[in-house]
């Protein structure tokens, strides 16, 4: 709370050093241009506030996308820019080919990561989260991020070029009932661990992976913890110990979603045993 007050007091002046970023000398004119474009796009803060507003691709991104489209044809479903990063969604059939194209045509020799996304909203959020200020209230309907999605599950990966310093994020849709994607291990050996992690956390099988087995979790573990319908067990067993009642500041209508009235009602029975918490509220 003290931090918040401090933040308000000290945040009077705001200076944006866009010029400093633009006044950068670099080796590659093309890369410089790309950065400058990205900076210009980032500069007006009003742009950032509008969600879903498409940004134009810069030169490097267009070149990368053109190469991908040339090789994959209609395998490329959708593409978009996210803060200067190219996001390309490819068809599941083209996933392995996308890795080969990235490595050889885009010269992205460096695999940053492969991971999964579960776009389904977590069921426990919303009404149940009342009073738990630590619990961010997420929207209840399923929406998809940059590049879109055909369904709930997706696999995404980021590859980069150590030579040209560019990178691209690739996404592909994964069938919810029988989640599986093609393995990248043959192209990027580092995909091994990332795909094992994705398999145990999201239950996405990778066809062609040499040995899909648990990486982090014990081998007898059941369930896929990073799926949104997998509850955070610590919260199920015991209510969040940091429950506090949030009172709106004077003149402030917009709470953080956890309504104070609901918070009191819920937290009263949740923590009647906890004397310390009662005192603090």
């Amino acid at each position: 709370m003290a931090d918040d007050l401090e933040r308000e007091q000290s945040g009077a002046a705001e200076e944006v050093s866009v010029e400093q970023q633009l006044a950068r000398t670099d080796e590659s004119a093309a890369a410089e241009q790309a950065r400058a474009d990205a900076d210009e796009a980032d500069a007006p803060p009003t742009d950032e506030q509008a969600p879903g507003e498409p940004r134009p691709l810069d030169d490097v991104e267009q070149e990368l996308l053109a190469r991908l489209e040339r090789e994959l044809g209609d395998g490329v479903v959708e593409s978009a820019d996210a803060f200067g990063m190219l996001v390309v969604r490819v068809k599941p059939e083209a996933w392995r080919r996308a890795a080969e194209v990235s490595k050889h045509e885009l010269e992205c020799d460096y695999l940053s990561f492969i991971a999964g996304i579960d776009w389904q909203p977590a069921p426990r959020e919303g009404d149940e989260a009342g009073g738990d200020t630590s619990s961010p209230v997420q929207p209840t309907e399923m929406t998809f991020g940059v590049g879109g999605s055909a369904g709930r599950m997706q696999v995404f990966a980021h590859v980069q070029s150590t030579k040209h310093h560019w990178g691209v994020t690739l996404k592909t849709d994964v069938d919810e009932g029988h989640p599986h994607a093609e393995s990248w291990v043959a192209t990027y050996p580092g995909a091994d661990w990332h795909e094992r992690e994705c398999w145990e956390m999201f239950g996405v099988a990778f066809d062609g992976h040499p040995s899909l087995r648990h990486l982090y979790l014990p081998s007898e573990f059941e369930g896929h913890p990073l799926r949104k319908d997998y509850p955070l067990l610590a919260r199920v067993v015991k209510p969040w110990p940091g429950l506090v009642d949030v009172e709106a500041m004077p003149g402030e209508e917009d709470g953080n979603g956890a309504q104070p009235a609901a918070a009191e009602a819920q937290s009263a029975d949740a923590q009647s045993a906890d004397a310390d918490e009662e005192e603090s509220s």
Binding site: G11, A13, S17, E48, S112, S134, V146, H158, W193, L226
Partner: protein, 388 residues
Amino acid sequence: MSVDFAVDRQAWRHLADAQVNVELDTGDMILNLGPQHPATHGTLRLVVRLDGERVVSADPVIGYMHRGYEKLTEFRTYPQVTTLINRIDWLSSFANEVPFMHGAELLMGIEAPPRAQYIRNILTELSRIATFLLFLGEMGLQVGALTPPFYGFRDREHVLNLIEAATGGRFHPNFNRIGGLKDDLPWGWVNECRNTMKVVFDACNTLEELVAENEIFQGRTRSIGIIPQEVGAGYGVSGSNLRASGVDWDLRRDGKPYLVYPDLDFKVWTHPDGDSYSRYWVRLQETREAARMVVQMLDRIPSGPIMAKVPRIIKVPEGEVWVETENPLGQMAYYVISKGATGPFRVKIRSASFSNVSILPWLLRGVYVPDVITILGSLYFILGDIDR
């Protein structure tokens, strides 16, 4: 006695060899290194299959410290996530915070004031120095030299004192806020920092003489554990480990501009060999370079506010952002997906050590057991950074 050993010593030797080979089973042996081994910096278990002293295959077993941070971030608000990500790579906690804060700021369309950017950058480089000084000393320990770690720990303490003086925490500063920093620097800190940088330069010289130029050290690390460029990149090895293989790629210079690195004058060090020694050498040079950067920034640090104008309750607009920074251990990145709520919808944490260690099965094949330890040491991973 029927054989006169004193006359034909050679015969005795052959006889003994033959005897040993007949009676000993020379099949493969499975050896567990760890989970509790002093050379593994934590709980990394390495199952190595040995043929004599030579490693046939190695399988790292991780997850003893898995804390599920990617899941936990979905149950936290943005300011609360700082506490978690502090503990990913606990030797350079401050550097972990920066990319996440930067990502949230990008999504919200705010930018930290210049002074905050400078202080962030100074503390990031101080974390790098602290992390590397520990490595530079500890690497001596991996080859059996007991003195260098003490020098490393001693001089790192000066840097940790600086971080503590500025942030209040030696290991987990939790100092970044979305839009700036918690506090300004304390009085006299800049001068203190400048003095400490002299200590750091001295420490680098000492450790260079003591470790890097040591004949035994070179014998134990040169042409041991060679990572070729394309293999390292394919495995996602990053940071100093990749630069030691001759890849001239540093996100501070080559990535999207962040903090005040574009204004700084610094050299990216590479080494063509890719062996354990070159990884040591590159980190040694980078420690000096980091100290030079800190001195540059201390000269230029502007005055002004340390917090931008941010709402009291932080709601981050819908969007996706990928923020990567050059952390001491390598590429640290967050893929933050926001749905316009007070907390992130999904955070993919891309930690450096995870990929750096995933190369071990490839790298350890065919090396000798004592070299396993030096290779592990020279890759320099933090278990929290692997297990997240």
